[in-house]
């Protein structure tokens, strides 16, 4: 099953590598360079998993996370950070992020987390359908 993934990061080198690596596995992903871009993309398409950098110029990753949770509560978010900030990690988890990954992220590890996040989204969708 195809997973709709959005990668949000202002580091274009990192984004390029990631798009390539996901592509090799026949998993096309979209990317956004900022929080605003990410929210615009989210308004246009229903994403399953969003990989979101914490530190970006302009809109802060945690701020974006909050808005994603409000606008698309079923979309799972994996936070990505270059420097392990415990405070940001706590806030991210408390705001409902699915997981937290430290850069440089091991690709297989990240892939595994994306799959788990997607599984959770599907479980949530199923539970919601049953509840309705």
């Amino acid at each position: 099953m195809e997973i709709n993934i959005l990668l949000v990061d202002d580091e274009s080198d990192f984004v390029e590598t990631m798009v390539k690596r996901f592509g090799i596995r026949k998993m096309p992903i979209d990317s956004a360079k900022s929080g605003q871009e990410a929210l615009a993309a989210l308004a246009a398409k229903d994403y399953d998993v969003i990989i979101l950098d914490v530190r970006m110029p302009g809109m802060d990753g945690l701020e974006v996370l909050k808005l994603i949770r409000e606008r698309a509560p079923l979309t799972e978010v994996i936070m990505l950070t270059g420097h392990a900030s415990l405070e940001a990690g706590m806030q991210g988890m408390n705001l409902g992020a699915y997981d937290y990954v430290l850069k440089p992220a091991d690709f297989d590890d990240l892939l595994d987390k994306v799959r788990k996040a997607f599984e959770r989204k599907q479980l949530n969708v199923k539970a919601r359908k049953q509840g309705a």
Binding site: H83, A84, L86, M90, M93, G96, A97, K116, R120, Q130
Partner: protein, 346 residues
Amino acid sequence: MSRPASREPESGSERQGISQGSDQGMLARATGARLWKDHGLLLWAHFLVPPGLAALVVAATFATPVLAGILAGAVLAIAAVSARGLLSRLSQAEEARLALTNQLIQSQKLAAIGELSAGIAHEINNPIAIIAQEAEWAAHLVGEAEKTGTADFAEVKDSLREVRAQVDRCKNITHKLLDFARKREPVLQEVDVVRIIEDMARLVDKEASYKNVTLVRDLPQDLPTLRTDAPLLRQVVLNLMTNALHAVDTGGRIQASARADGEMLEIRIADNGCGIQPENIDKVFNPFFTTKPPGQGTGLGLSMCHTLVTGMQGEISVESKPGQGATFIVRLPLRHSPLHAAGKNT
């Protein structure tokens, strides 16, 4: 090993295993003492009369069978009556004990509500005081401007900005409370607990190294996977580790361990920090309870952990000796009860 915290999940007294254990022990002792005091004679009769009469029956058997029969009948009758009396008194005592337990739970609930309201009041009072002060000052400045005709609104704007900031602070507190009250239904997935602990530990490592604190992992590689809510468990583990990091001094040590224990999976986060004072140990899971200076902790972290773990059908407890650190113990069922799992996965 402390008692699991949620022996009575619906009660308000579930916060802390140790306090509840001693409450019940006290109750049991009190009930026993009262039973002896009120019904001592009956108890003595119950234990002594039947054997005595039995001895008489044996003696009488050698005299005449009729006398033996009468005596045996009398023995049975007395035994039956005294047993019934004892039973009814025991059930009365049990009822009294239950009533007492309920009273205790009720009073603990009330105490918790009292503390909670005090906590909220305290947290919100400070920003409100500042808002009042700034509003008064702004009104004064505007009044002055009106009188003199010359207006310096920079200071007024400053006051208004401060008011705004303090309102945001209040909003933050109420939002946290709302988050706290919102029930997030757990979504069950196969979860590798060792991996989750390792992931969260890596987040804590850097901050720990600034404080020269070592975070030791004691994680078996053959731990069974758990069906639970992954992000909620991450939140609990991260909160407990952060809590431990705040508790230890420079050069301290935190140990994260996990093991399977029968039907349960047990996670322990231990630190060698200042520990918890005995008078505080049954309050650590209460909302707004904190020993940190004002402004440095809302006192919601551990109570949130408690809510999350209970939501995962688990138990959380704490063991601590002051000056010798504290150990937080999370126990989660390896197999979820079908009732709970059915709604989510079928």
